[in-house]
């Protein structure tokens, strides 16, 4: 199960997510020509406290659902990418539906810290041309899964 600080998520098999992404990793990452830019840069994911992690993963996964995967469909995508997105997106829905980030006042500073990290990612995304940003964000799912794996208990 995932344990993002106080947030617990069961019924998601991380291996299924990895398998779905690895099936398309090469074909997606070779389409990313802007190698000098990274959206999920160290300042976004390094040294995230347990308390921050629930807020941050919620924001990131919602962004992938609402923006990255949703708009990726507008591109002419091959069948195996459709399948990969479906597995990732449907499992991201399971995760986000079970995350209950705490909204108490004493958590405000932690929330703000997580939100600053998310805004770093979002700003970097918005600075790129939409097509390039979608490709790069999808190509960085391995960075996202690697970070999420730190909170996964086998």
């Amino acid at each position: 199960e995932f344990r993002f600080g106080p947030c617990r998520v069961e019924n998601v098999i991380l291996l299924e997510l990895w398998e779905a992404f690895r099936a398309v990793k090469d074909s997606v990452q070779t389409q990313d020509n802007i190698t000098s830019v990274r959206l999920l840069k160290p300042e976004v994911l390094h040294d995230v406290s347990d308390a921050e992690s629930c807020y941050l993963v919620h924001s990131l996964l919602k962004f992938y659902l609402n923006t990255v995967f949703k708009n990726y469909h507008n591109k002419r995508v091959e069948f195996k990418i459709l399948k990969s997105i479906s597995t990732l997106a449907n499992n991201f829905i399971v995760i986000t539906s079970k995350l209950r980030p705490c909204v108490k006042n004493d958590m405000l500073s932690i929330y703000k810290s997580a939100h600053r990290r998310f805004l770093l990612f979002k700003r970097a995304f918005k600075q790129l041309d939409t097509e390039a940003a979608l490709t790069k964000a999808f190509g960085e799912v391995d960075i996202l899964l690697t970070w999420m794996e730190k909170f996964y208990h086998y």
Partner: protein, 204 residues
Amino acid sequence: PDGVVVLPAPQNLSIQSANMKHLLTWSPVIMPGETVFYSVEYQGEYESLYTSHIWIPSSWCSPTKGPECDVTDDITATVPYNLRVRATLGSQTSAWSTLEHPFNRNSTVLTPPRMEVTKDGLHLVIELEDLGPHFEFLVVYWREEPGAKEHVKVMTGGLPVHLETMEPGAMYCVKAEALVKAIGKHSAFNQAECVEVQGESLPL
């Protein structure tokens, strides 16, 4: 139109799921002397919420001849999935038929696992059936005696596993249940099996 036979859509779609294997079936479309093919597509909760126009061709059944489709490899999250089928005959395609209720893999039926309990000399050995990557097994074993203490082990299937080194003259019993973390469920325990090692039991 005059004389043109409209290809009917497949009827009676239903899904049977046991041990995380999901089989979609439907009534065949009968066109005498012709071979009708079928195409199956699916849509998870994400697609139906965010991109409802998107349907994904099934891995193994786009197209297929038989009136059934193993959709196990398509159902890769514990969310409701819509499934639909249409018939194809030459250039003709029927309307889509959609499964009446979305399918969620957490409704799969988990059966008590088949197991083989053997002894290899003094070694108590168990082998459980290999039901695929989603499955682990909770194995409970004990020495048959008053006040017996139960031991528990979690393992995967498909390979013989050494449970215990037995004492001559004692009887040991084993039972197991299947665990599926992806849906947070387990089967019932199977029937316990016991084995006995011949010879004098050692004095206490």
